[in-house]
């Protein structure tokens, strides 16, 4: 299974995703410079975190105009799996591949810390191997992760089971105290209607190795591999 990792000017979690896929899971992976337009050879795409275009203007607002994004759209519409992490999620929102928008964290500050998220559904490539309701410990690192959508959209997301991750306490309870950024309904990640495009604020690639005693993030990548019937090294 060949992964493509899209690199915008200012992406900075590209190497971290590459490290997990290539060195930990032994999968072929390539960087895709944002001016490239041929994505046929890839089985899945990852839009990594970082500060594409410095987050100037608005997070993801400039990246959506990069040449590669048209092809990412085509890839997604053809059913190809796309995972957007942090800035990648923000770009997917700006590009209209996922519904809603990001606001600044309610503290108005950048927040870097571990949080707990509850996996709401196994019905995506990246959560297929995770039992719904399971609580994962994942890091967040963002200034604009306060997910917003109008009530209609939020209802739609719920009705269609499109909310994939929600911030929670370590036992899986959802409450305002555990919501790190003010996101509507404690949403930490969502997918599109056809369930192949997933955006999430937490960084699974940062806790796939157990360096700090935590490898919960590995489950997401493992899920994608299992789904396509391929085993990691």
């Amino acid at each position: 299974m060949r992964f493509g990792i899209i690199v915008f000017p200012g992406s900075n979690c590209d190497h971290d995703c590459y490290h997990v896929l290539k060195n930990l899971l032994g999968q072929p992976a390539d960087f895709i410079w944002h001016k490239e337009t041929h994505l046929h050879r890839f089985d899945a795409l990852i839009i990594p975190g970082g500060f594409s275009y410095g987050d100037y203007l608005r997070t993801g607002a400039i990246a959506k105009y990069s040449p590669v994004m048209k092809n990412v759209g085509d890839f997604a519409r053809a059913g190809g799996p796309v995972l957007g992490i942090c800035n990648g999620f923000q770009i997917l929102l700006e590009a209209g591949l996922l519904p809603g928008a990001m606001l600044r964290n309610r503290s108005l500050k950048f927040i870097c810390k571990n949080v707990f998220v509850r996996v709401e559904t196994a019905e995506t490539s990246f959560t297929a191997a995770i039992e719904p309701g399971r609580v994962l410990k994942l890091p967040i690192a963002h200034a604009q992760g306060n997910y917003y959508a109008d009530p209609e959209t939020l209802n739609e997301l719920k009705d269609n089971n499109q909310v994939i991750f929600r911030y929670c306490d370590k036992s899986g309870n959802i409450n305002d105290i555990e919501n790190p950024n003010g996101s509507k309904d404690s949403i930490a990640g969502i997918c599109n209607r056809s369930r192949n495009v997933l955006g999430m604020m937490p960084h699974p690639e940062r806790c796939a190795e157990g360096l700090d005693g935590n490898s919960d993030g590995r489950l997401l990548f493992q899920s994608a591999l299992d789904r396509l019937g391929l085993q990691s090294r």
Partner: protein
């Protein structure tokens, strides 16, 4: 026509210095040339007051690949790799404009590292502010932290540690010192020495604007009421462009396209061109009309003195110019060939073909003045040191005193700060901020690096020599506690006005202290920075020598943390506790007194402690290690308990019974006697630890056991413990020490 006196003064040059220029040139300089002398001879660029003393540092060692004098120092870590690191101050700009001042400080130190061909993998910072009760200080802290975060996070370089002290003395002169470390293949270190007559000089990065003109000169003066008007001397950072510049430079160096490369930091295009030619023994000729610029009508003077950020100057290998241009085009960076290397040893600047400046390079570099400034023991010393401890009452409730200590922003958790830094990006962080040292692993090896910054101005003012010694020892002890062997050191020396003999005395002694400690502990000084003129309205800061020690861990799985591990583990104190209270946080916080003699430090004892602790860690018998520093033994024990519980688990308490010593109880618990480490070991391996201690002649005392969820500290034969508190209580107080000064919502870390 002779130069106007006022103009010379505006350029920060003394009358004698101007005379020296006349002698060196044999003529009057023009305005542009005067500007070049002004910045190149500024304290900031020339180290004219400090150079004489800095020679005392030991700068060589088996592993040293590059000592002071380059953009940063480099040390061999084996596996064909080297680490490149340096610390630098951005104090003055950060007081004038905290966000941009701090942000561009990070930008500058990053460029110093990647200029050497190294990819930056870790940032740390050392900050000093006045107390947080003052809104101005809260504003400064918020701005500085946001600036560091804004720049480092965007660059994708983790900020893995640091330290902050709060003290009134920094009210008008906060300190912002930033450290960066990068990794490079040891045979691929790039240097900034212009060679190859006729080679093209290329400008790369942001366009030049009118910002930061005379920043270096500003940083070489004290402050007065004109501070507001100096805001335009602070540069504005653009981390996005720096990220592109980083990637482009590393790509250019990977393809081996350049002879030399240097960032345009303080004094911008002037210092980068002059220093590169100076190191290479060559000359440089540049056509200023080709310099990319933000606005029309900029004069040669402005172009040469601007400190616009995110710019690099490089000397291309012959025939590789097009390859360089292609890489810059890929990264959408402005680039221009603006000159060439010559054999004249002169800096020749042209504007549209007309020569506007023509100066001998050595006049700007080697011939810059070096001062052996007068020194004098300060008058304040006797009264400060002569504190009578008999007048200091002992606490009635040691538990309450411990709580008050943990609530001190200097001691308590800095989570409010480091939570704003991305400390995990690049997925190398083994020990995050909030511990004694930050630890990053080196991908592709089994190795890791522990990095610690340390320095205590409160010791510095009472005894600058010992302040220097203790800074080195504490930073080294911190990396030892993580299981790392110190391999190199960088220093940032923050002082007042060097033209004052008492300040110069403080400086000279601090340098001696650092030098002696480095020599005894065999840690070479490989880079550093001096920041003078940290004074406002004539009031200078405490002598604040910050040192950064880098330690090498051969086996990343062996990393040791300060928090208690398992119930039943025995708690052992390595080292002896003395009757010392001088310069302590306890005196300051509890008794609002600053004075006395800072703790003694015997370098041979310190060295034995390091060897003992490290050998025990390498033998795998140490389960946790935490040194005793600010707040003493009681705070060290409390922190070990607080840090025992990572996010999802419960904290571990401890029952401690101390030997009965004939010393004051407050000194026992809160005094800052040096050369002590609290370690834990499993009961079964206690005898092994005893052997390590005996071999190194390090005194040890088994003082307690990890158990329960309370911290109790008592004295043998005293019955009731002096301290008996739930860990949850002390953890809450410690957690809120800084956060409680900011609004409710933030307290929850939301």
């Amino acid at each position: 026509m002779p130069m106007d006196k006022e103009i010379i003064e505006q350029h920060g040059l003394s009358e004698e210095e101007y005379q020296r220029i006349l002698t060196l040139l044999g003529r009057e300089p023009n305005r542009l040339e005067l500007g070049l002398f002004s910045v190149m001879w500024s304290e900031h660029c020339s180290y004219k007051s400090s150079r004489f003393h800095l020679r005392k540092f030991p700068t060589t060692g088996e592993r040293v690949l590059q000592g002071p004098g380059e953009n940063a120092g480099a040390v061999d870590i084996g596996d064909g790799l080297a680490v490149v690191f340096k610390i630098e101050s951005h104090n003055h700009p950060s007081f004038i404009e905290p966000y941009q001042g701090a942000a561009t400080g990070v930008g500058g130190i990053l460029r110093d590292i990647f200029t050497m061909g190294a990819r930056p993998i870790a940032l740390l910072n050392s900050l000093r502010f006045g107390p947080l009760e003052s809104p101005k200080n809260r504003y400064l802290l918020e701005g500085v932290v946001a600036g560091i975060a804004g720049y480092g996070n965007c660059m994708g370089i983790p900020t893995i540690g640091g330290e902050i002290y709060f003290n009134e003395i920094y009210n008008q002169n906060p300190l912002v010192n930033v450290f960066c470390l990068g990794v490079v293949k040891k045979d691929r270190i790039f240097r900034a020495s212009a060679s190859g007559i006729g080679n093209t000089v290329i400008y790369l990065g942001s366009r030049t604007g009118r910002d930061g003109i005379h920043g270096a000169t500003m940083a070489s003066e004290g402050f007065d009421e004109s501070i507001e008007s100096r805001r335009p001397t602070v540069q504005v950072g653009d981390p996005f462009t720096e990220k592109l510049l980083l990637e482009a430079c590393l790509e250019i160096m990977k393809q081996d396209l350049v002879v030399a490369i240097q960032d345009m930091g303080a004094a911008g295009l002037s210092s980068s061109s002059v220093e590169m030619a100076g190191r290479g023994g060559t000359g440089i000729e540049m056509e200023l009309a080709r310099v990319p610029r933000r606005e029309e009508g900029m004069t040669p003077y402005e172009l040469m003195l601007s400190e616009s950020q995110e710019r690099m100057l490089l000397v291309a290998k012959p025939g590789r110019e097009d390859a360089i241009l292609a890489i810059c085009a890929k990264w959408d960076l402005d680039v221009a060939a603006i000159g060439r290397v010559t054999d004249t040893r002169r800096l020749v600047l042209k504007n549209d073909g007309r020569i506007v400046a023509d100066l001998p390079i050595p006049a700007l570099t080697d011939d810059a003045p070096v001062y052996e400034r007068p020194m004098e023991t300060p008058l304040y010393l006797d009264s400060l040191q002569g504190i009578n401890l008999d007048t200091i009452p002992q606490p009635k409730d040691f538990g309450a005193t411990l709580i008050a200590m943990l609530a001190s922003p200097t001691i308590g958790s800095k989570r409010w700060v480091y939570q704003q830094y991305d400390y995990m990006v690049r997925t190398n962080t083994v020990i995050r901020p909030g511990f004694e040292s930050g630890v990053v692993r080196i991908k592709g090896t089994r190795k890791a690096l522990a990095i610690s910054l340390d320095g205590n101005g409160a010791y510095g003012i009472l005894n600058p020599y010992r302040g220097g010694v203790i800074a080195v020892c504490e930073a080294a002890r911190n990396v030892i506690c993580a299981g790392a062997r110190p391999i190199g050191l960088t220093d940032c020396l923050n002082f007042g006005n060097p033209e004052r003999p008492d300040v110069m005395w403080q400086f000279a002694l601090s340098v001696e202290g650092i030098a002696d400690a480095c020599r005894e502990l065999a840690i070479p000084v490989v880079s550093g920075n001096v920041s003078f003129y940290n004074e406002t309205h004539g009031l200078g800061i405490y002598p604040t020598s910050i040192v950064g020690v880098v330690g090498l861990i051969e086996e990343v799985d062996r990393v040791v943390r300060p928090g208690f591990r398992d119930a039943g583990d025995r708690i052992v104190l390595l080292g002896e506790t003395k009757d010392e209270l001088g310069g302590s946080e306890y005196l300051r916080r509890i008794h609002t007194r600053e004075g006395g003699y800072p703790p003694l430090l015997d370098l041979a004892v310190e060295k034995a402690l390091h060897n003992c602790c490290l050998s025990a860690i390498e033998a795998g018998i140490i389960r946790s290690a935490h040194d005793c520093s600010e707040g003493g033994l009681a705070v060290a024990l409390a922190e070990a308990a607080i840090l025992s519980g990572p996010m999802s688990e419960s904290a571990r308490g401890a029952s401690v019974t101390l030997q009965n010593l004939p010393i004051r109880m407050d000194a026992y618990l809160f005094g800052e006697t040096q050369s002590r480490i609290v370690v834990t070991v499993s009961e079964t391996r206690l005898d092994e630890l005893e052997k390590h201690c005996a071999e190194n002649e390090v005194p040890m005392a088994v003082i307690g056991r990890v158990e329960g969820d309370r911290l109790t500290v008592g004295i043998e034969g005293w019955g009731r413990p002096l301290i008996d508190l739930p860990v949850e209580t002390i953890r809450t107080v410690w957690n809120r020490a800084v956060a409680s000064y900011f609004d409710e919502r933030e307290k929850e870390g939301r």
